[in-house]
């Protein structure tokens, strides 16, 4: 196990550096940020000055080594857009994103697994049909529809919850609910599919012969066998959330890392982009590692 972790850490570190390299050089190919920060009418002279200050005039390779040098001192550079340390900007947003992702995914995990398993247990039954139908509609509907319709109904007309923003736990209800819908639909379908197979296995027969309750047959015997693809897809959806839920963030005024990333990319705020990718990549790497460990915990036949 230690050996596995060690190897994994080395490989992950290498790929993190690779990712940094990739992002650093590729992002600079996406154009010069100067024009975006200065007024349209700014003179060439002030443009040059701007480039000078932000080190954009040096050859790319020099810029990269400077960046890496600073990074070694845990200095991610300053945001051009906000003129404060990029890492502060990112971490501030990431805390929100992480909370949102955790809350949403824990709801998704519990509900999708329960509903999906029950649907699989009664394949073709009314419950299965209804669960499949509505979860699929939810999962394929444009998220901003759901968000705006929810605001109009629950906030403006009924006044149950605030339209948007942060502050109280009431503010979390709409964003989490809207964010919940797509991963829920997807995970539910995966659970359902792989549970159908698991429930028809011979060991389920053994369990029945042992007189195990249906609940344990589903959630103890079949589920664990069905979980491999499920946690993989959950991981994918969680990664998507860690990368930020742009639509939800911008509609609900939620200060997460997603909109920050988009704005920074469009504004060529490279330091923030780099810092944001570093932070989310680290989170995703760790999550994937946990998932890989989970595979071998769930299924003792899997060994690395």
């Amino acid at each position: 196990m230690m050996k596995f972790l060690g190897k994994r850490a080395v490989a992950s570190a290498i790929s993190l550096v690779g990712l940094m390299l990739l992002v650093f050089f590729l992002s600079r190919l996406s154009g010069d940020p100067t024009g975006l920060y200065l007024p349209l009418d700014a003179s060439e002279e002030s443009r040059n000055q701007f480039r000078e200050i932000h080190g954009l005039n040096d050859p790319l390779i020099v810029q990269f080594f400077n960046y890496m040098g600073d990074l070694a001192r845990l200095d991610f550079g300053d945001s051009i857009r906000r003129s404060e340390p990029a890492i502060d900007v990112v971490l501030r947003g990431f805390v929100w994103t992480l909370q949102l992702a955790l809350i949403t995914m824990s709801l998704v995990v519990t509900l999708a697994i329960v509903v999906g398993s029950l649907a699989a247990f009664h394949v073709g039954g009314v419950f299965d049909r209804i669960a499949t139908f509505f979860s699929l509609i939810g999962a394929s509907a444009p998220d901003f529809w759901i968000a705006i319709v929810a605001i109009v109904i629950f906030s403006v007309n009924l006044g149950w919850v605030p339209t948007s923003g942060t502050g109280s736990i009431w503010h979390w209800i709409l964003p989490v609910s809207v964010l919940f819908i797509r991963p829920f639909g997807l995970v539910l379908q995966i659970v359902r599919g792989s549970m159908i197979t698991a429930l028809s296995s011979a060991y389920v027969k053994t369990a029945r012969a042992k007189g195990i309750k249906n609940r344990s047959i589903i959630f103890v015997h079949a589920l664990r066998n069905a979980l491999l693809p499920v946690i993989t897809v959950i991981g994918d959806q969680a990664a998507a959330l860690l990368n930020g839920a742009v639509v939800i963030e911008s509609i609900f005024g939620f200060p997460g890392v997603g909109k920050l990333m988009i704005d920074s990319i469009l504004q060529r705020d490279f330091t923030v982009v780099m810092a944001a990718i570093m932070v989310t990549a680290l989170a995703i790497f760790i999550m994937n590692l946990l998932i890989d460990i989970l595979y071998s915990v769930l299924d003792p036949r899997i060994r690395y």
Partner: protein
């Protein structure tokens, strides 16, 4: 709640820097609320005193400003001439990219001379006849404000003080108890940020916010809450004259008459949108109300193209129509409609919608190589009443975004810039006419209208200035 207001803005403030207060979202929070200017431009009455009580022209480009006495910054220090001088230096400081310095004082050297604590001479080189008006953009900050970095806790002389900025969430202002002027009704204000117009409208409707300075046309559905105002933005298509077939006047005329401008108003664009003949709105001096927008005449457009074609103008060359995404509400529909109209009269044209960075590459000099004929949609904002910068940057051969190289235009700009009073207005008017009718410089489209949604409990009517500022002290309760 009673005497505090919540304002919902369309995007978060990246910086809270007074020297960039002409950026519209920064301006709506800081401008004249926290940071006051030397003079103040009122669209209704013209130039008014603010921190300066009076000013006079000393000749040779120098103006003398007499400052108001008894004004203190929110940190307690008195506002004096050295603060103004420092602010002028700071806005042009090379170490920070101040919007005001670059946008209004680009290419101008500003020096100041402190006469006494409340008198200051300001000299512009080259001389600026409209210097007092330019001073209406200059926000005054204390003399110890750093020259090399933006502030994150702005200090000003205004009726409000800057309390708190919870990044990503809100900004809070509260009334300044030591304000020199009239005490405002609104005692505190919270600014929040929502990117989606429908949400902003919903927030005001749900009573969570009091003012949303800008909402989309289609969200402005409630006459009791929604106000329209001319927002000083002008939309046009920039033609780069060097590229064939756009170098032919007939083609440019065809581009103008092929557009059914009136069809846009009240449909894709708001009622109240004006058809443009020049690049600045009617509130600017020299605006020529007699110029007529090109009437929709597709047959004439076709005829012009035929004619040009007969003369060997390569009108079959594909022209790229470039639009900027999210430039204004319904920009995509507008561009699609334009494209349809052009294709209808026989232009070989394609549409490209691009994000702002890419748009800038195409719009500002140096233009990309091998670009082919391009028609670039742009929106220009001039709320300060004088067309000087608009004209220089958009039409002078040296102008950053100019598609022209016309010596006549260059001289006309130079003359108008140097002139004052009525002569100045006349010269600008002449230039507007020349650009619109003689050389047909661009495809002028619309002077735009913005929408605000205001909670019914407020007594507040948005104006043309609402595009860049939101003076809380002007808000009253019903």
């Amino acid at each position: 709640q009673d005497n505090s207001v919540t304002v919902v803005l369309s995007e978060e403030l990246e910086i809270v820097e007074p020297c960039s207060a002409t950026k519209s979202n920064v301006g709506r929070v800081l401008f004249q609320n926290i940071s006051e200017t030397v003079t103040e431009m009122d669209p209704a009455t013209g130039l008014e005193p603010r921190l300066a009580e009076s000013w006079e022209d000393m000749g040779n480009g120098t103006w003398r400003f007499t400052l108001r006495k008894g004004v203190t910054f929110s940190d307690g220090s008195a506002m004096e001439a050295d603060d103004v001088a420092h602010s002028l230096v700071r806005m042009k400081s090379p170490a920070i990219a101040c919007e005001i310095g670059a946008k209004f004082f680009g290419g101008i050297d500003i020096t100041s001379n402190i006469i006494d604590a409340h008198t200051i001479d300001v000299t512009a080189d080259p001389a600026q006849p409209i210097l007092p008006m330019l001073m209406s953009t200059v926000t005054v900050t204390p003399s110890d404000t750093p020259l090399d970095k933006f502030v994150d806790q702005p200090i000003g002389t205004g009726p409000y003080t800057f309390d708190e900025y919870a990044r990503g969430q809100y900004i809070k202002l509260s009334a300044n108890p030591n304000y020199w002027g009239e005490k405002p009704t609104v005692q505190s204000a919270t600014y929040v940020f929502r990117a989606d117009s429908a949400v902003r409208a919903a927030m005001v409707a749900a009573g969570e916010a009091d003012i949303s300075p800008s909402i989309a046309l289609q969200d402005a559905t409630d006459p009791a809450m929604d106000f329209s105002y001319p927002n000083s933005e002008t939309v046009f298509l920039r033609i780069e004259h060097a590229q064939a077939p756009l170098n032919d006047r007939r083609v440019r005329e065809a581009l103008n008459v092929a557009v059914d401008r009136e069809a846009f108003v009240g449909t894709i664009l708001a009622n109240g949108t004006l058809l443009a003949t020049g690049i600045t709105p009617p509130s600017t001096i020299g605006y020529d109300a007699d110029l007529k927008p090109y009437a929709y005449d597709p047959d004439r457009a076709r005829a012009l193209l035929e004619e040009a074609k007969a003369d060997g103008v390569p009108i079959d060359t594909e022209i790229t129509l470039i639009g900027r995404t999210n430039n204004f509400g319904n920009v995509l529909e507008t561009m699609e409609a334009l494209l349809g109209m052009y294709q209808d009269v026989g232009f070989n044209m394609k549409l490209e919608m691009v994000e702002v960075a890419e748009w800038l590459e195409r719009y500002a000099k140096p233009f990309p190589e091998n670009r082919g004929p391009e028609l670039i949609e742009a929106q220009h904002d001039n709320a300060n009443g004088d067309p000087v910068f608009s004209m220089y940057f958009k039409y002078h051969s040296e102008g950053q975004q100019s598609g022209l190289t016309d010596p006549k235009v260059d001289t006309m700009i130079a003359e108008a810039t140097a002139a004052t009073g009525d002569a100045r207005a006349a010269k600008w008017k002449e230039l507007f006419g020349y650009l619109h009718e003689d050389i047909i410089a661009d495809v002028m489209l619309f002077h735009m209208v913005g929408f605000s949604r205001v909670n019914e409990r407020l007594d507040f009517v948005p104006t043309i200035r609402t595009n860049s500022e939101l003076q809380l002290s002007q808000i009253k309760f019903k």
